[in-house]
């Protein structure tokens, strides 16, 4: 699909998602003109657990990790967000409850910041934006169900393979202990598993 000239480069991926929801050029402008693009430095928390969430973030460039900080100091990675996807604590935003998740940039990143109030206005006034949000939430929901099944059904090795399939190229971009936390085993167990795999 061609992207019209007046859709700024940073918006191209979000624009393609909007087109899938039949957003018209005029409706698209309502979003593009009322959002900003922000630089996020590696190591920065985009959203912090315990805080209210008043914006959604679309990842243009970079990489985020979504995790639950446990009371005992451990952290439990639940997802990663790469280019072309939302890095956001959706449940916290729509329920106006403090986020349980922290979202941290693992690389210098660029995001499109969308105010929740803008999203509410757009979905109220435009069928297409309502559809856009519906499709976005469905994607989130499908992934949550998928992950629940993975944790239940799959062995550690199969969960690692599922991680590689779901996030192509990511294993080279993040430290191994973040992968271990995501698939629910200790870094030592993951290292042992990968060692076995290579026939060692």
């Amino acid at each position: 699909m061609d992207t019209p000239m007046d859709v700024k480069d940073n918006y191209a991926a979000l624009y393609r998602l909007a087109m899938q929801a039949d957003v018209t050029p005029a409706e698209w402008k309502l979003l593009q003109e009322h959002t900003i693009v922000r630089d996020i430095a590696a190591g920065t928390g985009l959203i912090e657990a315990g805080q209210l969430v008043e914006r959604a973030y679309f990842c243009v460039r970079g990489l985020f990790r979504l995790y639950y900080p446990l009371e005992d100091g451990r952290e439990y990675n639940v997802a990663f967000t790469v280019e072309g996807d939302f890095a956001t604590s959706h449940a916290a935003m729509i329920t106006h409850q403090p986020s349980s998740l922290t979202i941290e940039a693992l690389e210098d990143a660029l995001v499109i910041e969308i105010e929740h109030t803008l999203l509410q206005q757009l979905t109220k006034q435009h069928h297409s934006w309502e559809r856009f949000v519906r499709l976005s939430v469905e994607r989130l929901y499908i992934r949550k169900e998928e992950r629940e099944r993975e944790l239940l059904y799959l062995s550690a090795r199969e969960r690692y393979e599922a991680f590689l399939r779901k996030y192509p190229g990511l294993a080279e971009r993040i430290p191994q202990y973040h992968i271990a936390s995501y698939i629910g085993i200790s870094p030592v167990s993951l290292s042992r598993l990968l060692h076995q795999e290579s026939g060692g």
Copy 2:
């Protein structure tokens, strides 16, 4: 909110949800006239793992258990559906993939059966029905996130208390081993935990 006379009794709860999405009386009729109410006998599978899902079910009366049948014969309860809620394998329906879940009636039940093709037609043509589906999926998503947190953060006792809060009255309607499976402990551990609680 008053329910108009021509909304049949069995549809009253679904009608209230539709009103929250600003469905008009004319739009409501499009759904009511193209759906049927079905009796489901206790013990019947509404949806079976491995099968395609072509309908959504709204629970008018009765009680359902949603579970993953594991390969080793164990079953893992992920949710229950009571009156006024959807009992459906949403991810399977929208992705046209076989369901991973089985949904079984634990009591004689009454459901409103909604064809997926009807839902697609309604959401395509009516902003209000699009909103209705968006809100329904958001509810599903919030519960999935909540459950993930419960399994991560809470002790077995706290998970049991969360179950009681989330499903008022349900502990009296289902066997204890179904609750044990839902909170992720063995029936023996749950029985011990409840015994301790009563000061025994």
